[in-house]
Amino acid sequence: MVRIEFLGPIQRESLEIEAHTLGDVADILNQDQELKEWIATSAVAVNDTLVSSLDVVLKDGDKISLLPPVCGG
């Protein structure tokens, strides 16, 4: 199982799902119509490191974070 965390304004409770790659995570999250808009504009971190490929292999206990558009300052 991996844990999905939705940061900032997404305001969703975290999820635990069965996934072996980020591609699996994408398939599962995109089934949720309300999440699709956030997914299209969010960056992704695995264990607090931003990633740029869906080919990342996940292991049990990994944390995947969705980071929507930011505006600090």
Partner: protein, 148 residues
């Protein structure tokens, strides 16, 4: 030095302390940038969420970049509510000479705006409203949306 505070920043105290801490270190230039909440569009203030683990790694990368140029970066930011005419953000660069500090402060603040995991909300009528239109997608955003 990355400092996070609940509510508005005490700007004079923070700037003075940084000045005094770095004065013995032979930096010839100290350039702070201060972000203050403006009264516009009927807001009472702004509110901020921060994701600290990634903010800390972003900041460490900037510390390392600055160190290679003989410089030092620091920042302070608010968590939660900051009302109009209060300040929520200070970024500063110390360097031996002015040119490095002047160039770094620009890049440092702009990269902060584009990449730091901080979310801003307008406070209107006591409600927090995500400042979606003023927000920027972090580089690489939409990764999970491409496989549809």
């Amino acid at each position: 030095m990355l400092e996070l505070y609940s509510g508005a920043l005490d700007v004079p105290t923070i700037l003075k302390r940084w000045y005094e801490e770095e004065s013995p270190n032979n930096y010839g230039a100290y350039i702070p940038f201060i972000g203050t909440v403006r009264a516009e569009d009927g807001i009472e203030g702004l509110s901020f969420d921060i994701y600290e683990p990634i903010l800390k790694s972003w900041f460490v990368a900037w510390e390392e970049k600055a160190a290679k140029m003989g410089a030092k970066v620091v920042m302070a930011h608010s968590i939660g509510d900051v009302m109009v005419h209060e300040s929520s953000y200070i970024a500063a660069v110390f360097s031996p000479k002015r040119r490095v500090a002047l160039e770094l402060i620009d890049e440092y603040v702009e990269d902060f705006k584009a990449s730091a995991p901080i979310w801003k909300y307008d406070i209107i009528g006591g409600e927090r409203i995500y400042a979606k239109e003023r927000s920027t997608q972090i580089k690489g955003s939409g990764l999970l949306g491409v496989k549809i």
